[in-house]
Amino acid sequence: MRNFARTLVRGLWEDNPAIMQVVGMCPLLAISSNALNSLSMGLMATAVLLCSNIFISLLRKFIPNEVRIPCFIVIIASFVTIVQLFLQAFLPELNESLGLYIPLIVVNCIILARAESFAYKNNVGLSIADGIGSGLGWTIGITLLAIIREFIGAGTFFNHPVLPSGATTLLFILPPGAFLTFGMIIAVVNHRKGIRLAKKAAREKAMELEKAA
């Protein structure tokens, strides 16, 4: 149970797939111009990731090592297709705004990455934790990026207008804005991490000096 919680939290922050590992960039940069779309996309990818992690973990003894990648792709693509068909049939409104992006989940390398580096080597329980943690971690990353881009670029927050129309900088919802904003997020996070590590190192050094004295 402690392992379950630790795996879950690791995906959310410490090893956050978007901000720390920088994987799944293609859909992350493309979709993050609107916070609501990003959140829905993130949750959809989480659902697919969870399903594929469960199945790959269950089948890890059945799938031979040499052909594991084709098997992973078949499983992931099947789940994405199932999600898309069900959305088209039963949730047409959601399909309207996201339909275009759902096939992109197949190429979201975070799903293949988690299958390869986690689900294929761990039991179902931990794979569920990893699926939820990594999926939600990626969702947090893309939604954070989208909130900033949408706010500066379109002056809205989850489609609610907050800035007057003259105060926006269109560049931020254009493709270059994705790179600029994401670069800044990573810079801030690494800066804070740097400060934390420096403090820790200083503390250790002080303790060593104390010991020596």
Partner: protein, 193 residues
Amino acid sequence: MSNNGKKNVVGYLMVRLFIVGVVAAAILGKVDAITAGPIAEQSRLKEENGMMEVLPDGSDFEIIADSTDDSLAGNSTIEGTTVKKVAKSGAGYVLTVLPGGFGGDIKMMVGIDNDGVIQGVRILEHAESAGLGAKSTEPEFYTQYDGLSSGGLAVQKDGGDIVAITGATITSRAVTSGVNDAYSWFETNGGAF
């Protein structure tokens, strides 16, 4: 089996991969069988609602031309144009037009009444950029065409009166040209059907 050398290892890998593929295909087939009906129903409903929106006075629509159905008499009138489908009703015509946008063809509907007044324009399917060209699906943009009765529309940048979407001139031009194409079909063939 595992002791019989290399040839059987390859066979074993193939069988495993084959089983995964077959099971996945069977599941997808089942899901498709469940969802095919509702999906067809959704797309029919969407089309019907679209027609009612762009031509509010229309009812009992009859398809007179459709590029995907060879048997229709009106098909020669849409050959070589971006008009893909024409539905006629007592009040006027609804045309489905596919002009080329920024991210591929834009599927849109234009309703023109019997007096040649544009009653409504709607974007059905598109792949324009979110936050930019995708704004063509918002009333603020598409209602500008309502009540116009001309086939020579243009965006302001090109000397016309249509206010383009900020940052999406290509999309705005595409939609405008789609409206123009629909209108020119109406001018040439409107009385004949």
